[in-house]
Structures are given as structure tokens and as C-alpha cells.
């Protein structure tokens, strides 16, 4: 009996450790991928270091340049080829190329976007498109101290703040992060109903209680009136 018990315990420990190790493997296999996806979604496009993969001049003009699928802007076509190099410079990978041939840094990306989206650019300059200067997350104290030029530097550019991914600028592709959208709205508490006293709120109970008393008083009054009607002859003086 004791031997059987010990054997059972050993078997149980062994199986539990097996399951545990398998579970651990599954988790360790899945977690890094998830984290990587999140970091990609959260990272601003400016933090990609193009030089890391494409050293200057030695780059390749592949049809599918990245493992991630790029849509919209990478579908631009120039002379029959996929037009990565309409916006990117072939030799200097960390620079953007305007149609005029001028090279600009990634921080001046609005200049590049302006070439096609002029109306949007105008409204952005005016402050209507995107977050405007007055709507930035600044307290009242900072607003009085800071100069206008500094404020213009703080304004969100096209690809800042996860607004637009430059390769896929549609807004609903924006990674909102974990926990969004926030939970659905709560409805007001149920209106008190005599026929459906299922609500546990104290006022419901109180209303139901007063209602019961009211109804019992009504019934008593009705009964006494009945008795008086039945016995009406007895009340008459002879």
C-alpha cells in the first residue's frame, strides 16, 4: 500500500513537471512575438534606423522590401518599378528625397507630404488638422512661460504620436495600445416598477414596502365597506 502510494506520488510529480515544462515552453515561444508586435506598433516610425539593414549605397531594390506588408504608399509606381525611391534616397538611407531632388531629414517629413497633400498641409499649418498648439498637453503654467517658437517645435508632425504610419497612413491602422477602446457606457439604474421588484437598490425596497402597505390599507378599507354594506340593516335604528 505504501509502495503504491509513493509510486503514485512520484508519477504525479513527474507528470506535473512535464506539463509545467510544456506550458513554460509554449509561453516562452509565444511571448516574445507578442512583445515584438507591440513594440512595432508603439514605436514611432522615426526610430527605425534604416542604416541598420541598408548600408549606404549597397541597398537592394526588392519588390517586397520588408517582412511586414506595406500598403498604400509603397504602391506608388515610377517607371514600372515599385517606387520606394520616390520618397527615399538611394544612397543616403536616413534622408528623405523631395521631388526636386533636395534631401531632407526625417524630422522635416511634412515637406515631403506637402507635395501631394497640399490642402491637408494648409489646414495643418493653420492648426485645424491634427492636434493644434492650444490643445497640447500643457498645463496653464507652462503655456505662459513658453515661447511660440518652442510651441511650434512641439507640434505633432505627420508621423508623430502614432498618427500616421508613413507606409500605411490610414488612420484606423493606428495602434491604440492595450485597453482601448475603453469599456462600454453604463446605463442609469432601472426605473422602479411594482410589477418587477428585482432591483436590490435600497430605494426600490422602500418603494415596494410602502406600496405593499398602501395596497393592504386599500384592501382593508374595501373589506370593511363590504361588511358595512352587508350589515347595513343592523345599523339602522329600529
Amino acid at each position: 500500500m505504501l509502495k503504491k502510494f509513493i509510486l503514485f506520488i512520484i508519477l504525479a510529480v513527474f507528470s506535473i513537471s512535464l506539463i509545467g515544462s510544456a506550458y513554460g515552453e509554449i509561453q516562452s515561444a509565444e511571448e516574445p512575438a507578442k512583445i515584438a508586435d507591440e513594440t512595432i506598433n508603439r514605436r514611432s516610425p522615426f526610430t527605425f534606423e534604416c542604416d541598420f539593414c541598408h548600408s549606404n549605397g549597397t541597398a537592394v531594390n526588392q519588390k517586397v522590401p520588408h517582412s511586414t506588408t506595406l500598403v498604400y504608399h509603397d504602391k506608388l509606381v515610377l517607371q514600372g518599378e515599385v517606387g520606394c525611391f520616390i520618397c527615399h534616397d538611394f544612397y543616403e538611407r536616413d534622408k528623405l528625397k523631395l521631388l526636386s531632388g533636395e534631401l531632407v531629414s526625417f524630422n522635416e517629413s511634412p515637406k515631403l507630404c506637402y507635395q501631394c497633400h497640399q490642402k491637408r498641409y494648409d489646414t495643418w499649418l493653420f492648426g485645424d488638422h491634427g492636434k493644434s498648439i492650444t490643445e497640447l498637453y500643457l498645463g496653464e503654467d507652462i503655456l505662459s512661460e513658453i515661447s511660440v517658437e518652442e510651441l511650434e517645435d512641439r507640434r505633432y508632425r505627420c508621423s508623430d504620436f502614432r498618427c500616421h504610419n508613413p507606409h500605411n497612413p490610414r488612420l484606423y491602422k493606428v495602434g491604440l495600445g492595450i485597453g482601448y477602446p475603453l469599456p462600454p457606457p453604463m446605463d442609469p439604474p432601472e426605473i422602479v416598477n411594482f410589477l418587477n421588484p428585482g432591483n436590490d437598490a435600497p430605494y426600490t425596497k422602500a418603494v415596494v414596502f410602502t406600496g405593499k402597505i398602501f395596497i393592504t390599507i386599500l384592501i382593508l378599507a374595501f373589506l370593511t365597506s363590504l361588511v358595512m354594506i352587508v350589515n347595513r340593516n343592523k345599523w339602522r335604528p329600529d
Binding site: 493644434s132 484606423y172 469599456p183 457606457p185
Partner: protein, 263 residues
């Protein structure tokens, strides 16, 4: 004998409450706790800035950019000291079918957003220039101020809820239970409403009349909301309304809403 100072307001409150108690289902205990001699008279002063001259506030909402994240809804609840258990929201987000304007069959309780084949419509008080809710009030507890904000006097409100019936935008909400606000989250600029009054969006007048924007405009991550003075032709919102296609909700009712939807 107990001395009672029955002014006109108290008398109206009493008579209204005794009638409303039967209609609205409020208990006797609730009515008794709201009687004028039982209400705690707190001598707190709330900063109530007067409307600025030459200003008419309006809001424009870009429905192309709204992603339905509900950040504005919860920021508004915190900013305006709305009871967390009252089930009241000044802003509600409607998930609309693509290329339709069917407000009746919109979904408010979606859990996934943004979806590609849906669009999102934030709905709140439109601060109408011809407000039907003001006409409905029997005691003149609500009116339109000079800068375009329709406000409610919580002391004067009887809780008859006629304004809620007349409002075509479902903007007014009733305090069915006592608002519960956590003590560390109370905004000192806004009074906490008593039970049994109607409340609504005020365009954050405690902020906007001091030169700030509304809270919903500030927290919007995509900048879908624009708030400003349409009396000023150089303001952002005037430029927006001049250059984009604009619509309002239920235009045929003639309420002249001041919340414009830009598409």
C-alpha cells in the same frame, strides 16, 4: 411650533416633489432628505466665470478621424464630477454603419474599435441656438447664456424631466441616485449635483471661459474635435467650417445646433 420660511422656490419645490414622488418613483425618505430644512447648507464657493463678451462657442467634430476610443467619454466623467455609479455620460459614442446616417440603429456598446467598415459619431449636447429644452422648463431653471452655452440651475431644478422629453439629442441626463465621486478625484471647480436634478454638457465653461479648451478636445488622441469662437473669423473653427463640408444632427427640427460634424 416649527418655523418654516416658505419662499416661492421652496413652495414650488415642495409641491413639485410631492407630485413627482408618485410619478418618478422616488421614496418618501429621498423626498424627506431633499426638504429645504434637511439639506446641508454648505457654504462652498464655486468659481462661476461670467460669459465673455463677443464670444460664441461652437465645436466641430471630424467624423473621418474619430476612432471611437471613448477617451473623451471617461475624461468628461472625471472632469465634471459625474457620479461613477449614476450611469450618466455627457458624451456617448455611436458606432455607425458605413455610408449611412441611421442614428436609431447605431451601436453604443461596441467593444472593438476602430473597425474598417464602421464610423464613429460622438454625440452630446449640441448647445442649440433655438433650444427646445429651454422652452420645456416650467420653472425657468435652464436658459441659454450670451456665449451660446445652455446651462442648468441645479438649485432651481425640480426634476420634472420635461426638458429630457423635449431634447431631440438625448443630451440631458437625470440623477436617479446620489452621485458617488471618489474623494481624491473630485474636481474643485465643478459642484457635485444633488439627487433628482437634470444635468448636461456645459462646454466645460469652468475651463473655456478662462481661455482653455474643453476636456474632450484636450484628451482626443487624433485631434478629431475642434472647439472655438465662431464669432471670430480668424479662429481655427471658423476656418474649418469655411473650408470643409459640414453637417449638423437633425437639421430639419430647426434647433440650430452649435456642434458641427465635419466629414
Amino acid at each position: 411650533m416649527i418655523y418654516m420660511d416658505i419662499t416661492r422656490r421652496n413652495f414650488l419645490k415642495l409641491s413639485g416633489m410631492s407630485g413627482a414622488a408618485l410619478l418618478s418613483g422616488r421614496t418618501l425618505t429621498d423626498v424627506a432628505s431633499n426638504l429645504p430644512w434637511n439639506v446641508e447648507k454648505v457654504g462652498k464657493y464655486y468659481d462661476d466665470p461670467a460669459p465673455v463678451e463677443g464670444v460664441h462657442y461652437a465645436m466641430a467634430i471630424d467624423t473621418q478621424t474619430c476612432i471611437g476610443c471613448r477617451r473623451c467619454m471617461y475624461a468628461c466623467i472625471k472632469e465634471n464630477n459625474i457620479g461613477r455609479t449614476s450611469g450618466i455620460q455627457y458624451i456617448r459614442l455611436l458606432e455607425m454603419e458605413e455610408s449611412s446616417f441611421d442614428l436609431l440603429h447605431s451601436n453604443q456598446y461596441y467593444t472593438e474599435a476602430p473597425k474598417e467598415d464602421k464610423w464613429y459619431l460622438p454625440a452630446h449636447c449640441n448647445q442649440c441656438n433655438n433650444p427646445p429644452c429651454v422652452q420645456a422648463c416650467p420653472v425657468k431653471a435652464t436658459w441659454k447664456q450670451d456665449d451660446g452655452v445652455v446651462i442648468v440651475d441645479y438649485d432651481r431644478c425640480l426634476g420634472c424631466r420635461m426638458c429630457m422629453i423635449n431634447c431631440p439629442y438625448w443630451a440631458r441626463k437625470f440623477n436617479w441616485i446620489k452621485p458617488e465621486v471618489p474623494e481624491d478625484e473630485i474636481n474643485p471647480d465643478v459642484p457635485i449635483r444633488p439627487i433628482g436634478v437634470v444635468e448636461k454638457c456645459t462646454f466645460c465653461l469652468h475651463r473655456t471661459r478662462k481661455g482653455l479648451t474643453t476636456k474632450c478636445t484636450e484628451v482626443c488622441p487624433v485631434g478629431a474635435r475642434k472647439f472655438g469662437n465662431i464669432a471670430d473669423p480668424d479662429s481655427e473653427i471658423s476656418y474649418l467650417l469655411r473650408t470643409r463640408r459640414v453637417t449638423v444632427l437633425k437639421e430639419d427640427l430647426g434647433t440650430e445646433p452649435q456642434v458641427y460634424y465635419v466629414g
